[in-house]
Amino acid sequence: KEIASESLTESTHFHTVPLTSLFPTTTHCHQPHTTHASKGLRRGASSLKVVHKHGGCSTTLPKGKAANTPTLTDILKQDESRVNSIHARVNSARIDNLNAVSGVRKKKIPDSKAAVPAKSGTTLGTGNYIVTVGLGTPKNTLTLVFDTGSDLTWTQCRPCVKSCYSQQESIFDPKLSTTYSNITCSAAACSGLTSATGNNPGCSSSTCVYGIQYGDSSFSVGFFAKDRLSLTATDAVDNFLFGCGQNNQGLFGNTAGLLGLGRDALSLVSQTAAKYGKYFSYCLPTKRGANGHLTFGKGAAAPGSLKFTPFATDQGASFYFIDVQAIAVGGKQLSISPVVFKSSGTIIDSGTVITRLPPAAYSALRSAFRQGMSKYPQAPGLSILDTCYDLSKYTTVSVPKISFVLNGGVTMDLPLVGILLGNGASQVCLAFAGNGDASD
């Protein structure tokens, strides 16, 4: 009876899997029988295929050595600089709000002090989910990172007046597009760049110039323009406002640029509000998954299990804020005061890789997880991940389940891919990190 109830607890509150399932030998692409689009999209919705940039399904980007695929340590390092820039942006926006409300001008952390300039735009290097779109007439195929943590869509443009990094597809050439035009400095859209990029626009022979800097000092500068953006073979957005980058440097991998999905007026979501009703959805596949999607408009009949949680109050910047209320590990809710989440706030971000938690929440999660994993030998930490195990001597592993409870009774039971991140069986880590300081 004892053993029976033990094993029952194991199965309900633990993921018990063969070790090999954590480290598939091949990164072949796992072609599913149904895709989101094939489930029958509602009229007026546009669905794009999403793949993991470094997985087995990204056909447009080279794989393996040719693509100098970043190591897990590289990705974690870039992720850290992205998070620093997000913290700087949120803090800067909160101070603005505070000053506006209190009338007292609270000192902003001078940019030089902030870990990174509190400008819009966040490190792109980690953005590892990509979609393929068409730009211009005739259509030029471009692979872009999609990012709910930034607003301005941009791509590299010929003649690359200053510099372009090497990208997989040929660089967009505005001269060859019959539907391309520059935005003038006097156009209202030009002044909209200040909120979308965090920088005031420039002006060069009456053409509006944008500049956006990313957390790891990557940047893109160029002409603000409009052209036809083809989201799918049949759906296009005319006069789409985007950045045509003449000087682009930094960690952008082989992608052609970025698709901004933030809440600013210049994001793709806002620019297509009339067509898609500011309603979009995605499913981020695992490295081998091939049926990820990014869908604009009310997509396929949403899976029955869909539950809604209200966005949290707007805390400035153009991020999507949510209310996390509790975390459970191995079926037990952690004793974390709700104030911890309330005071820090939480954003959901497709471009940040590792979830960051307020320090008090992370230490509670870590100690409960370590308790559930106590039978496995610990391994050295990996960059920002400080709870790792050497599982190389085991054929099956039992890992405590982790669930997040959001406002409105929405519970997310994380699959195993959302709990562990590994550098091989001898270093498998808890895929969470704590913010350095509650006031971060």
Partner: protein, 31 residues
């Protein structure tokens, strides 16, 4: 601020109803 990253979002259907002010979550949206 806490950040819910893309590792933890994998395989969930995530719906941004920006106009409606709410976020939808559904398990098993993709592989």
């Amino acid at each position: 601020v806490g950040i819910f990253g893309n590792i933890q979002q994998q395989t969930f259907e995530v719906v941004y109803d920006v106009a409606g002010g709410k976020l939808g979550i559904g398990a098993g949206g993709c592989s």
